[in-house]
Symmetry: C2
Subunit: 181 residues, 2 copies
Amino acid sequence: MQSKASFTPAEIEQIKAASVVRTLRKRQYLLQAGDVWQSNAFVASGCLRTYSVDAKGLEHIIGFAVENWWATDQESLLSGQPSRYNIEATEDTTVVVLKNDDFEQLRREVPAFDKVVNALVLRTFMAAQSRVHSAISYSAEEKYREFLQKYPGLVQRIPQHMVASYLGLTAETLSRIRRQL
Amino acid sequence: MQSKASFTPAEIEQIKAASVVRTLRKRQYLLQAGDVWQSNAFVASGCLRTYSVDAKGLEHIIGFAVENWWATDQESLLSGQPSRYNIEATEDTTVVVLKNDDFEQLRREVPAFDKVVNALVLRTFMAAQSRVHSAISYSAEEKYREFLQKYPGLVQRIPQHMVASYLGLTAETLSRIRRQL
DNA sequence: AGCTTTTCTTGATAAAAGTCAATGCCTAGG
DNA sequence: CCTAGGCATTGACTTTTATCAAGAAAAGCT
C-alpha cells in the first residue's frame, strides 16, 4: 500500500486474506452511480476517476486516484445510500479492494495497518481541503497552472477534457487557456 | 465531543488532561496565516470559519465548523509549514484544543477516542468531497439552494457576505440570487 | 440616543466562462 | 487500409458572474 510501515509476515497474510486484487481495463467501472459502495479501493497502478453526471449529461470529475492513493465514496459508505458517483479506470489499472467490514476489522486488529490508513485518510482529506480552496478562490487559468504543478505528469496521462472537468471548466475554455501559454 | 461513545471515567480524565478549553470572542483568531498549526480544535459551541486572503485582499472561506465538528489545517499540520489560512470565531465560541502530539497519543491509547476521531475524520472528508462536487458542478443559484438545505439555520448565524465567500461568489451576486426567491 | 462600522442592496458596465457549431486530427478496430 | 469515434481546436455569440460605485438598512458602541 505504502512506504516504510513494516508489517509482520502474519499481518501481511491477514491483509491479503481480506483483499481482492482487481485489474480494470481502460473505461471499466469500479462503481456505477446507483450502486451502494461498501469498499475501499487502493490503486496499485493506473488511474481512477470519480465523477458525477448532471441533469444535462455533463460529467464532473470529483477526483483522480493514481498510485498509492485510494478511491472511495464515503457518502455512500457512511449513509448506505446508492452512490451518485461513478468510479472508472482512465487507463488499465490494478486496485486492491477491501470490503469495508474487513477493512475496519483490519484497522482494529493490525495497528500498523491502522497507522497507514490514518495517514492516507488525513492526506486525502488535506487534498480535498486544498481543492476546495482552489475551486472557490482561483480563476480558470490559475486553477490550471496549479494543477500542472501539483500533479506533474498527470496531464500527459489523461485526456484534456477530463482535466477541464476536474477543474470545473469546459473543454473549450481549457483549450483557450492553453493557447495563451 | 460526540454521541454514544462511552468513555470510562479514567479515559475522560486522560482526555481532559490533554485538552485545553478556550473561549473565543466573536472575531477572535484561533489561527492566523503564517503561524504553524499543530493542534486539533473541536467546537463545543459557536462557530469557526477557516479562510484565506488572496492577493487582492479578498477572503475565501474554506469551511465553517459548528457544534460537534472540528477545525484544523491538515496542510500545515502534516507539512510543518506556516499556514495559509486563518481560523476565526464568527460568534462567541468554545473550543476544545488538543496539541497534535497528545491527540495522537490519545488515539493510540484510548480506543474509544480513536473510534470517535475516525468517524469525525471520515465525516469531515465526506463533507469536503461533497463540497468539491458542488463547487465544480453547480451554478451560483444551485450552490446557494444546496447550502440552505444542507446547513439549515446556519444562514441565520453568519453574515451573508461570508456565505457568498463560502460558495465562491461575491456578496453582490448572492444578494441578487436571493432577490429572485 | 447618536455616531460609527458593518452589512446588504441596487444599478451600470466589464470580464470571464459557457454554448453552439464546424472542422481537422488521431488512433483503435474491423 | 479504411473508417468511426473520441479528442482538440477555433470562431461567433450568449449567459453568467464580477467589478465599481453609491446608498440604505441594521447592528454595535459609548
